[in-house]
Subunit: 431 residues, 4 copies
């Protein structure tokens, strides 16, 4: 059995101070902090492992019998950062509803347009959130608070939190944002203030380490399958037809792989984790030719970050610091056309890039349930005085993890896993 | 009243010969051909008119008491051409069901991959269609027969029809295909053969003259609104956000205009029918800047054929003979970025091109009903010996029109109409 | 041709007084009232006709160059009555947007909970509507204003309108509500007041005379087809399976018929307009038995008002005065079970009653466009001083009709029409 | 830590004989059977536990390096039993695709209409399944093979398997069916035959012990939320409006609870696991009254098996042996009407029973992926000679479990769990 093998993952959670205030919750089933959540994690579940299997202990998410903050004197703030993802509004709504109805907190502020909302020079107003004005927001995609990319000065942010007398800050964002949250935690600590900072990790790519599932991923996959289905219809609607679908996934092909499993019609899946060649007898072009001659049509799904080995490495970056990707689908289109022209074979390609369509829709039921849990547990954690933590599902449980644990390294598809074998079975492609 | 004002539209339908065979239909309500369908048409409804209002007479669609063809000896064929459109499979299904169950016709052949399916050198097989193998096809987008672009030699097509002993040919396609159908009619007539040719006009752009509604249009608009909604969510998800959506519409902006009316969130609608300028105080760029500074976000919908005055006219053509369009959205993106950089204003643009997604989905309920009527009436017309006709809705009635009537000229948005005024009210834009 | 045959339909519209004020509209294309809308209507389109075809003249809907009301001094109110229907919120939104942005009207009041909202004893507040608080309401089904059934005293309503200084009242409701609107018009006239009353007819059953299409009908049909599809899946999921779907339609089977055309899988369609028998060789039970033995499954769609001849006539009424219907589907279930038990044949029935699911969803794109037109044209009509009118589509045009024209008689399915023949072709049933 | 606490769960899997044949799989990542899957399970996850936490060892699902059956000589059969559930066709498709493309198995037979399909007296044909005829079936709800309820004689079933030379039987069905599968395993063993029997558990109620997630559950929840949303729209569409939604769940309220979490609008959730009273100050009727007077509308979701304490216990059973439930929603309706009449308060109730609509739809993307895994792993297990097993997800892993483990006891909602606390928080109801 995976006994307490030595590892250097620090899963200990920081608390602002002793929790002494009785909870006002009406359905108490309090977390016993002396009993950690024990999980066995394998190399498929953690970016760092090779073939190890570890037993890890995490702090359980859930309501605590004693609180650090006095609900009647607590002021919360929520900020949403980075690109859109289905379910952000659900998380906002859940935080507001939990704070208001269950803890009796009077004020939840919505910071506008991401971290910029803290910075005076942008001049954005703050929006007071209450059960009335958030009650229907989960029916809409996007974020009612607005977002922005890129970091802001931690000291300016903490200045702003102090001016507003905020006790708890909920930060919804990607791994850059989680690093920014950590910087805020450090600044707060340096000043000796008692402000809890809780992260709710958001990434449509599902590529955060230790985190089994990020909200919005299921919904994104659902929408991605619709685009793939359309490409399939186009490809089969003519002789020698090729459907090419571009999906999100800069560093990790989770959406593309999961949508491929859902559709079971994809012939070639291209992801960042697996290099491929265009040329040669084992290259994509000849494989595509063989497929088309045998079956008359083909379907290719390509994650945006695939084929980096085929592209000049980019040097420009976007405001969040992400390297601008080369245009792999443009390259594929061009080379496919050239190849079939050269081979004197007809080939008609239909390219679909659903882009923002898969991330700006409202969450589906499964993601809604998950976002509800995230919001509830974020408030539970904050009220107990936890800080510098993220709330998340790990395997099938809800847990609190230190911010630095999830930001140290990104997760990506393990191409030596059962999951990947299933994906390869679904496409029938050879690597 | 619009008395019988002189006009030179020939609405007379050709019949292969006298109809003498009793119909086998069980629910007879026969068309009385002595009573034409009288319709008052205005300049908004016809590309040719300026301010006239005409009374036109058309031949009604519907079952006839006497048939020209003997059902037990009749062989039909269906061919689908050009780009995909929601509802093609519904029309195929309706033709097969009507032929089989109501007329008792034994053979309906499906020609593969458009007009190429008639040409021996392509070597495509023919597929026998029956109620069993078409029963569920309407649940899928695309065409189960496959399609192709471009014309084929009429004499080769008629050779093929003769070899297969086809009596009735149903042609589903766009205006190029309707011209090809007319050429087949002429070749059949020149040979003195008795083959009925019935056209079912297909164009997702809804731009065929005399034809009030083409099948698939409603569905395409429904899907287009989803993309616009996503762009709206993206634009409002950040400060100074612009959503730009590209929609189909090479010569006519019907989809873009109708989707704009359905969404009521679009600020700038760009269509081929209305030139616009980018520069100057009345140009799009300054209007966009004013909008962004006033409201923080903006939504632009652009038909692919808009802004021809701003682009170098293309000279290349696709296999169907359509001129390759310039990339108006690429131009817009570039110029918008330059403009806001120059003005030292932030601006973030999110571009969505749903492309094939809006045309390869299954038809919605409204289009399904319409496709059912088209298929039924196509068979009624053919069995009565009509040839060289299209079956269509004109205003709110089903009618038969000569092929040449609908191919002479394309319809486009009348920018002096009540409809266009409503669209402009919806966007609030100034021209 | 259908010359000006004598008929006694009064299509003349009443105006409160001379229109002298210049319109503030920016995209003027004014209606020329000297040129009426001429429409040829047949017996299929009007409840009153047998085999006649009439030329009728209606007043066109659309903006007028001169207004009766001065926008800066005009106060509007909106009330929504009766059962829900997809698109009510779209109409409310369109009225508010048109009033505010295009005419510059400052106040639009939302009356709460139907006509009761006017009656002091209920104590409902009035809600001020503006572009901000209606901007997203079209994304939701139902009515943001609330509704109620049943009439209220006209004098109390007009008292209330006077107290609030309302100049224009928009009434969204069914034919009972249109009669109530007429009573308000009469009371206003008796008092010599200048209040315009504009009706926007709402009925999910699509059974209002002269009115080609009521808003929400398309959406309801779309949802109804989903229920039918589920019943089809259930019926075919076992041997001797029967799917039975109950749909709305107290007096008219339009939804059931249209959904039957859309699905093309229904074997027996039962509507109020066509009596049927259960027993005997031509009865439904034996027909069902034959179908089941031949094909193994069957699909029945039943409008709630079908089979009145088989049920004891009800005498109770609901608050709106509608006779409570007998439970035809309950009777069908019972008799089907008895029949097959008696015949010693297995039969498994799955009953689906989507009920409110088909009426409480948001409108689809087609209905949204239509609701937008209704709202715009309602405001145009009101501002020109028209009163006692309904705004609607007649055939393919937008027109104004006197309230009494549409309330005199209900429309129902013409079972001697081409439309019904198509429906019968789709089911294959014999009457 | 949850050390190897003693328990009497037998998780050992039976194999027909030694696996000696090399696998033909091309993407091998073979299961190492010496390393079991170790899972820590708590009282929330297992019906049998109270407050214990156990470490359990299961056999991993996945491809084996050595097979028991020789693919070229193997014949498979699939049978689907009991009520419909989203995803059955996906599982069928996955089994066929995996067998055909990856193992090279030539014959997969589809047994018609459940276990009856084995019994000669019913005379059902057997259908040969291949990649071509299953390629699109996942787009449809239901089961293409048909189903039936109730057991059949194991000896007759094994006679039939022997006559058809079937080596592997895949059984898709609920817990009654899993018991039938066990009986088949026993009969096969008694005859000394080498037929592998693999179960794929199906229950829309998600109430099978040890099984974290049954396929179709997510989809059912998604559809259920649509019905709840409609009821919410109806309830808020009038003053004193109540929406009442009936959902599946005879013994377990999982669908109702999960849909309640997804919607976050439900005020009263009634499930079989929690008794409630109608009368008295703490009863539902007074709670509903208080809610209505405070907020004007209310939303109730009721699982069909709720309120058994309020109903006369039924004694009739359906063909599968399930006790016929009393009509709790009928009782609720009646008592609510009486209560409000007595209290002289208005109340309008809108009842929605989506019934089969939530189970006969196609699977969503998440369920499709899961069904794909189930089908793949079922074939892997069978080819390795495993028998008497079910394939399923336990926590977040795919595993093989002995049939008897999952049929001994049903799982239901643990009303002392964190999950249930979250549900109660979502409704705000007091027990």
């Amino acid at each position: 059995m995976p006994s307490k093998k030595k590892h250097d993952f620090n899963t200990t959670i920081t608390t602002l101070g002793p929790a002494k205030i009785a909870t006002p919750l009406r359905y108490p089933r309090y977390v016993d902090e002396t009993k950690p959540l024990e999980l066995i994690m394998t190399s498929e579940e953690l970016a760092e492992l090779d073939n190890d299997t570890l037993m890890l202990e995490f702090e359980k998410a859930g309501p605590r019998e004693k609180l650090y903050f006095d609900p009647s004197k607590t002021k919360c703030a929520i900020v949403t950062c980075g690109g859109l993802c289905p379910g952000i509004n659900d998380v906002i709504r859940a935080i507001v509803m939990e704070s208001h109805y269950h803890y009796g907190i009077r004020t939840v502020l919505g910071i506008r347009n991401g971290l910029r909302g803290f910075i005076p020079k942008y001049g954005y107003d703050v929006r007071e959130l209450n059960p009335h004005n958030v009650s229907s927001i989960h029916q809409f995609g996007g974020t009612v608070l607005g977002s922005s990319r890129g970091p802001q000065e931690p000291s300016e942010i903490v200045d702003s939190l102090e001016r507003m007398n905020v006790n708890i800050l909920f930060v919804i964002g990607g791994d850059g944002t989680m690093r920014a949250a950590k910087a805020i935690v450090n600044e707060v600590a340096a000043r000796g203030r008692k402000i809890a900072v809780i992260g709710i990790p958001k990434t449509i790519d599902n590529d955060i380490n230790f985190i089994t599932r990020t909200f919005g991923f299921d919904t994104a996959v659902e929408k991605a399958t619709e685009a793939i289905q359309c490409a399939h219809v186009e490809a089969t609607g003519m002789d020698m037809g090729v459907g090419l679908v571009k999906l999100m996934g800069r560093e990790a092909g989770f959406i593309a792989a999961q949508a491929t499993l859902a559709m079971q019609e994809v012939n070639f899946l291209l992801v960042p984790e697996q290099e491929f060649e265009l040329d040669g007898d084992n290259g994509l072009l000849m494989a595509l030719e063989r497929r088309l001659l045998a079956r008359g049509h083909a379907l290719i799904v390509c994650a945006e970050g695939a084929g980096k080995n085929l592209l000049e490495s980019g040097t420009t970056k976007d405001p969040s610091g992400n390297v601008t990707l080369g245009d792999i689908c443009g390259l594929l289109s061009r080379r496919m056309k050239e190849h079939f022209k050269e081979r004197q074979l007809e080939m008609t390609m239909k390219f679909i890039d659903p882009s923002y369509i898969i991330r700006s829709v409202p969450a589906n039921a499964g993601d809604r349930v998950y976002c509800g849990f995230l919001g509830q547990h974020a408030v539970h954690a904050a009220m107990a005085g936890k800080t510098g933590v993220v709330v998340t599902q790990v395997k099938s449980s809800m847990a609190l993890l230190p911010l630095e644990l999830v930001t140290s390294r990104r997760r990506c598809l393990n191409v030596h896993s059962d999951y990947w074998s299933s994906v390869m079975e679904a496409t029938g492609q050879q690597n």
